[in-house]
């Protein structure tokens, strides 16, 4: 009268799989999440720069200086830069993988995308956070009105 334990049928031994980060999955998710943010960020950017007021006619150094005097637009533009550039670079990576069949060409293009993305991210962030709205090399009449206090 012993209780018998019957092994579950067809359960073969499976070696524990090594857990790796599924980068394609996270890239896929990134495109959707960043896309959602970019819809708001870019339509806001387009409205303020191309629609409201005098539209594209109003854009000059003083216009940019006026925007970046406000931390709100600095953060806005930083988010837009980072999210859009990585979104675009990842999209171009997909396109490259689809059409560039020769391994050397493919690796070269992917490398170019990576390098240009890193360079432009660093450049863009430096420009936003080292920006001087009242530079000393300015020709008269190009500075925003609030520089007269200097």
């Amino acid at each position: 009268m012993t209780t018998e334990t019957i092994p579950a049928p067809r359960s073969s031994y499976t070696p524990p799989r090594k857990r790796r980060v599924n980068w394609e999955k996270w890239g896929w998710l990134y495109m959707r999440v960043s896309g959602l943010f970019l819809v708001v960020l870019i339509f806001g950017h387009l409205f303020v720069n191309l629609v409201s007021g005098a539209g594209v006619r109003a854009i000059d150094f003083a216009f940019v200086a006026g925007k970046w005097a406000d931390p709100f637009w600095m953060v806005w533009d930083t988010l837009m830069l980072v999210l859009a550039l990585i979104h675009g670079a990842n999209g171009m990576r997909t396109v490259t993988n689809d059409y560039a069949h020769r391994p050397i060409l493919r690796k070269t293009l992917l490398g170019a995308i990576l390098v240009s993305t890193v360079v432009l991210l660093v450049l863009g962030i430096l420009v936003i956070y080292t920006f001087d709205p009242c530079p000393s090399n300015a020709i008269a009449g190009t500075l925003p009105a609030f520089c007269k206090a200097h």
Binding site: V39, R57, G91, G124, V127
Partner: protein
């Protein structure tokens, strides 16, 4: 009634089976029709926007050189040709954004894939509304700039 009982067992009178003529290929989510053309447009607009973004980061970076250098470059954006380029850019961004939202709904909304065709029609309609709203504004700004009315 022998014929009656036999009739119930016999196969129904031979009606000619209706064979429908082959229909036009109706497509799948990704092959043919809305699914494929939305993908094609999404890819073309995406690549175009990407190359504009590269240039736009570089031209904006000129604010760091000097105000006059930046103003010189940005004045190029106010010429009629570039004004139409901005219109084309907004048209591309409009489709990419709206179809991007459709893709998100296909992937995350439980019945999204079922309604992808209807959502494509909605994308096109909203796109037309968006462009119809922006184009007159942009063309007005191009004309005013060409007539010498600056930022005012």
């Amino acid at each position: 009634m022998p014929e009656n009982s036999a009739g119930t067992l016999a196969p129904p009178p031979a009606a000619k089976p209706k064979i429908k003529p082959p229909r036009r290929f109706a497509g799948t989510l990704y092959r043919g029709r809305e699914g494929m053309w939305s993908w094609v447009l999404h890819r073309i607009t995406g690549i175009a926007i990407y190359f504009f973004l590269l240039v736009h980061i570089l031209d904006t970076s000129i604010v760091r050189i000097s105000p006059q250098a930046y103003n010189g470059v940005i004045n190029e954006y106010k010429t009629p040709l570039m004004g139409l380029g901005e219109l084309a850019l907004v048209i591309a961004i409009g489709f990419h954004a709206l179809n991007g939202l459709r893709i998100i709904l296909i992937d995350f909304w439980s019945v999204g894939a079922r309604h992808q065709r209807l959502m494509f029609v909605i994308v096109i309609l909203l796109w037309i509304v968006l462009v119809a709203g922006f184009a007159p504004r942009q063309i007005m700004n191009i004309i005013l700039e060409a007539q010498g009315h600056g930022s005012a």
